[in-house]
Amino acid sequence: MSLLSDDYTRRALLEVLLVGALCGIVGVHVVLRRLSFFTMAMTHATFPGVVLAAIVGIDLLLGSGLFGIVVVLGVTWLSSRSRSDSSAAVGVVLSAGFALGVALLSAHAGFTRDLSAYLVGSVLTVQPSDLVKTAIVLVVVLAVLASVGKELVFGAFDRGGLVALGYPARRLDLLLLLLVELAVVSSVPAVGTILAVALVVAPAATARLWCDRIGPMTAVAVGLGMASGVLGVLVSERAEVAAGAAIVLVACAFFAGSALLAPHTLTARAPVPEEAR
C-alpha cells in the first residue's frame, strides 16, 4: 500500500476511523429519537463557535462546544414557548447561527479559504492534536454510554415510563444533546459543519434498515461509519475530489443500497405511516 506511506494520509485514515466510530455510536440515539433536524441545526449553529474560536485563538473543540451549549439552551427555550413549534424554533436558531458565523468570518481576513475548510472539512490537514482530541471524545462518549446507555434507550422508547420510575429525564435528554454536540464538533475537521450530520445520521439509519436490536444496530453503525470514512478518503485520493464530500457520498450510497436491498423494507412498507397521510 503505497498510499499509507504518506504521513498525512495515515493521519487522515486514523481520524476518519475515530470519527466514524464516534458518529456511529451517537447516531443510533439520534435516529431512535428523531433528532436529525436538531443535529442539523447543531452543526450549523456550531459554525459561529468554530469561527469565534479560530479568531480568538482558543481551542476549536472548546470554543464550539461552549457555543453548542448556548444553542441547546436556545432551542429548548424557544420551543417551550407556547406558539412556536420546535421545528420553527430550530429553523430560526439554525439560520441565526449560520449567518452569525458567515458575518464573523467575512469581517475577518482570509474569508474564502478558511470558510470552505470549516464548511466541508479538510481531513488531509488533520493534526496529531486533532487525533488525540477525537480519541479523548470517543473515550468520554463510550464511558457515558456505558454508564447511562440503558437509561437513554429507555427514554427514547418510553419517556413517560422513565419519568415515572423517578429517573431525571430532562437531565438525561440534555446529556444526550451534549453527546451529539461533542460528536458534531469532533467531526468538523474531517467533514466540516454542513456535512457532519451525514456521518451521524446515515450509518445509523442504514443500520436501522438491517437490525431490530440496539446492540447489533450500534455495531453495524460503527462499522459503516468507519468504512465510509476509509473508502471516502481512498476515493478522494484516486479521483482528486473533496475528501469530506466523498466520505458523505459513500455513507449515503450505503444507505441507498440498503434501502433497496434490506429484507425489512418490503414488509414494513404495508402500513401507511402517520406522516404520509
Partner: protein, 288 residues
C-alpha cells in the same frame, strides 16, 4: 433616516435592494405555509439539494444556466422527498438528512474539481447580492410571481390540508398532490434566491418571517401580511447595515448574512412583543 436611504443611491445597491425586497415579500408569504405545515426541515433540505443543480448549471451554461440547473434539481428532489416520506421504516427526518447531505456532497465534489474551488464554493453557497443585474431581477420577479400565484390559487385547499389532513383526504382533496405543489413552491423560492443570497441562507427567508409573524397574530390573513412586511424589512435593514458597516466603519460584513441577522433580530422583537402582549392578556391588565 438617511442611514436607511443613502446607501441605495448607487445603482448596484438599488438593484440589490430590489432583489432583497422581492425575495423578502415572496419568502415571507411562503414562510407562513412552511411554519404552518412544519416544513422547516423540508425547506432546509431543498436549499441544500438545489446546490448541485447550481453547480451543474454553471458548468454547462455559465451564469445563465444556474437557474435552469437549480430548477431541474429542485423538481428532482421534491419528487424524491415526496416518495421518501411514504417509506415506513426510516423516519422522515433521517431520510431528509441523508438526502440533503448526499445531494450537497455531489455539489461539493463537482466544485472541488475546479481550480478556483474555494472562491466558487463561497459564491454558490452565499450568493452575490451586490452583483445582480437587471436580467436576474426579472427572473426573480417571474419565479416569485409564479410561486405567489400558485399559493393564491390553492390557498383554501392548502390551509385545509394544513389544519386537518384527515378531513381534507376524506373530502376527496388530492393531499399528495397538494404537498407536492407546496414543496414545489418552496423550491421555486429557493431557485429564485439562489444567486442573490446563496443556497445556505435561503432557509432564513423561508422560516424566520413566518415564525415571527406567527408570534404576533392568530389570524392567517394578518400573519401573511406581517410575514411579507417582516421579510422585506429584514432585507432592507440588513443591506443598509452591511453597507454602513463596510463603508463607514471599515468592518466588512457579508451582505447576505447581515440580511439574515436582521431577520433574526426582527424575530427577537416579535418574540418580545408577543410575550408582553400575552402576559398582559393573561393578567388582565397592561404591563410595561
Amino acid at each position: 433616516m438617511s442611514l436607511l436611504v443613502e446607501p441605495f443611491a448607487s445603482p448596484f445597491m438599488a438593484r440589490a435592494l430590489a432583489v432583497a425586497l422581492l425575495l423578502g415579500v415572496v419568502g415571507g408569504v411562503v414562510s407562513v405555509f412552511v411554519v404552518l405545515r412544519r416544513l422547516a426541515f423540508v425547506s432546509d433540505t431543498l436549499t441544500h439539494t438545489v446546490f448541485p443543480g447550481v453547480v451543474v448549471g454553471f458548468l454547462v451554461a455559465g451564469t445563465n444556466g444556474i437557474v435552469w440547473g437549480a430548477l431541474a434539481f429542485a423538481v428532482l428532489s421534491v419528487v424524491l422527498l415526496t416518495v421518501l416520506s411514504t417509506h415506513a421504516r426510516i423516519t422522515e427526518d433521517a431520510s431528509l438528512a441523508i438526502l440533503l447531505t448526499g445531494f450537497f456532497s455531489v455539489g461539493v465534489i463537482l466544485v472541488s474539481r475546479r481550480p478556483s474551488y474555494t472562491a466558487d464554493l463561497t459564491a454558490f453557497l452565499f450568493g452575490r447580492i451586490l452583483t445582480v443585474d437587471m436580467r436576474q431581477i426579472v427572473v426573480t420577479a417571474i419565479l416569485g410571481a409564479v410561486a405567489l400565484l400558485t399559493l393564491a390559487a390553492l390557498r383554501k385547499e392548502l390551509v385545509f390540508r394544513a389544519f386537518d389532513p384527515a378531513g381534507a383526504a376524506a373530502r376527496g382533496y388530492p393531499v399528495v398532490a397538494l404537498d407536492l405543489a407546496l414543496n414545489l413552491v418552496v423550491a421555486l423560492v429557493v431557485v429564485a434566491a439562489v444567486r442573490a443570497v446563496g443556497t445556505v441562507l435561503v432557509i432564513a427567508l423561508l422560516v424566520v418571517p413566518g415564525a415571527a409573524a406567527r408570534l404576533l397574530s392568530d389570524r392567517l390573513a394578518a400573519i401573511v401580511v406581517l410575514a411579507a412586511a417582516i421579510g422585506a424589512l429584514g432585507g432592507w435593514l440588513g443591506l443598509a447595515a452591511s453597507y454602513q458597516a463596510s463603508i463607514e466603519h471599515g468592518l466588512r460584513l457579508a451582505s447576505g448574512a447581515t440580511v439574515v441577522l436582521a431577520l433574526v433580530a426582527l424575530y427577537g422583537v416579535a418574540a418580545a412583543v408577543g410575550t408582553v402582549r400575552s402576559s398582559a392578556r393573561r393578567r388582565g391588565r397592561v404591563t410595561p
